[in-house]
Point group: C3
Chain length 148, copies 3
């Protein structure tokens, strides 16, 4: 039987952490596992929420780039709690409500946040049907590794 | 050229393991990769299957909590084959047919199975369009790490 | 503050690597993170593209097996750039537009490419709504580990 595993966690203190019961990021040994990040501010308010149609679904994907940028900012803030940066990211998965809009936004936003024309990051772009909040267009998970 | 990698695997012996050709869980070095788990019993019968409508799609998501609980039980059983428990989980992804129903169920079920009000687990909740079985509402993948 | 992480990358040189800004595969320490692979050839042309209906959506999923096989070929090519093979894969996630068609194809294709009746690979099969290209039926992400 294995003994207890040493885990360090990072959180924002937003309401859904307690409601759902999870950690925004967990560091075990040299790896940081970042939970799906989204575009919110310090108070847990969505940044650049999508306008909704009469069915409560996003009317358009115009805010994709802005939500994407804020999502990376939040990830960077969590990584900083472990003394890490986006340079330590090895893999990311972008779950998006519209792949076309996300692909269009992704080049400029990602090159900017990673500070490189071709970031050394494995990336997955997946079109899914539903995210946690109705006005949310994108969620990104990350894995980062720190040097020995 | 790298040599052969030592892998240990865990399985249930259900029919789809052979049909699809995979392992329910693989341990390499200190990490256990658990394939998408679902709500089935020892005989491979779905536990708490969703009632289906005339198109063969779930009529409602009422059994989400029960399927979720059984899914964690199955994951725990696989981890136990390596001497590990849910305490060693570092990251999970819940793929669900309805995010609202899953979010509603997730707090109570997850706090119970992880035995903590805020589990030290990175978690992703993703609404997707289709799972392996028509009466399946949820599938969960896990990564666990054992201490050195 | 952590110092710089040593990363090695592998790429094909296809157009979307520069447009989107990512690496097809990243090796850090003993782990290779392979970005979502798809069925394309050396020139970036889709192999066995789906026929599209009048809405620009796949008319059927008949080419699932062929796209799946080519996708594994591309993954193997990336792994080879690190001296690794599909034997070093520990986990894969198949994102597909139709789970039934993918499950039907997966057994034969995967046993063939992994060279085993029950590959020692954790596998996830997820039905999603949209991939990067309209005539693309499947995308597969991989994680591989090399021996010490």
């Amino acid at each position: 039987m294995h003994t207890t595993l040493e885990k360090n966690t990072a959180n924002f203190g937003v309401a859904w952490e307690q409601a759902y019961g999870y950690s925004q990021a967990v560091k075990v040994k040299d790896t940081i596992y970042v939970s799906g990040q989204l575009s919110h501010d310090r108070d847990g308010q969505l940044v650049a929420p999508a306008a909704l149609d009469e069915h409560g679904r996003p009317r358009d994907f115009d805010n994709m780039a802005e939500q994407m940028r804020q999502t990376y900012r939040n990830a960077a803030e969590l990584l900083a709690q472990f003394g890490a940066t986006l340079d330590h990211v090895v893999e990311e998965t972008l779950y998006v409500l519209d792949v076309g809009a996300a692909f269009k936004a992704a080049g400029a936003v990602r090159k900017e946040v990673y500070g490189s024309d071709q970031p050394a990051v494995a990336s997955n772009l997946i079109g899914i049907s539903q995210l946690a909040f109705p006005d949310q267009l994108i969620e990104i998970t990350f894995r980062a590794v720190v040097p020995d």
